[in-house]
Symmetry: C2
Subunit: 137 residues, 2 copies
Amino acid sequence: MKKEIDNKLNLKNIKPTAMRQLVLQVLTEQKTAISLPELEQKFEKADKATLYRTLKTFQEHQLIHSIEDGSGSLRYALCEDFCTCEPEHLHVHFLCNKCGKTYCMKDLPVPQPDLPNGFEFSSANFVVKGICSNCKK
Amino acid sequence: MKKEIDNKLNLKNIKPTAMRQLVLQVLTEQKTAISLPELEQKFEKADKATLYRTLKTFQEHQLIHSIEDGSGSLRYALCEDFCTCEPEHLHVHFLCNKCGKTYCMKDLPVPQPDLPNGFEFSSANFVVKGICSNCKK
DNA sequence: ATAGTTCGTGCAACCGAGTTGCAAACTTAC
DNA sequence: GTAAGTTTGCAACTCGGTTGCACGAACTAT
């Protein structure tokens, strides 16, 4: 729904351009996190730099979050509607060794480990690797 | 001590060449994990490819482990003497946002989260980011 | 010791992800 | 409509990682 897309953009104070609508559309349809190169392939005819800057804008406005899953490229996924990307909202990600997809485990919060004295927590990246339920079958 | 270096290599079934001794020496002196580009700089005159392959060899023989800390390059650190890099031996890593160093939190095991049905755990990468005790002072 | 094989090293080249500069196209405010 | 600001597209570049190839050292069997 085009309305919803624009809504989301407005909600996060992002000017809705054609490009941004398209990218957000794709992101919304994705069940797993997507990388810049993967996003590039979704459009037969879009510029890498533009997509790159679009993702950057989205991230700055906390519409999406990025995941370092060690696959060689950053992956991006939609944030929950009212996510502010605070440490408390961090969740675990899962990278399937077989299909290579990265899942957001939205129900699995990242535990905050007891750091040694003097170490200050500000954020975390927790990626679990293994076989996803889809590949397991 | 040259003896100890050779010992470690032998223990892991790695033929001790001059190059490997030097690299292991550097790795042993490091208190924090080191990346390939950083390692390159430690030697005024060594080939990237050779260092790359040396690290690869070390990793295959479980002398070192690699950490995806999201700094843009993989970092490497020595394993504990009898580490076999099993999930149970995984520990948390800490990336300082200020000095950029990556610490092995050897005493902080990576928790194994309750994955949804059908997802199979095989390994994990848990990087905490913040300010290290050294930069905090 | 010699010839043949394997293994390690160094150089060059390449790949792919990410990033930047710049100019053209488009928006917005006046 | 014009000026100022924003977004886009293209090209170029950086940098980490990786590979092919050839030379040389080390190891093996005769």
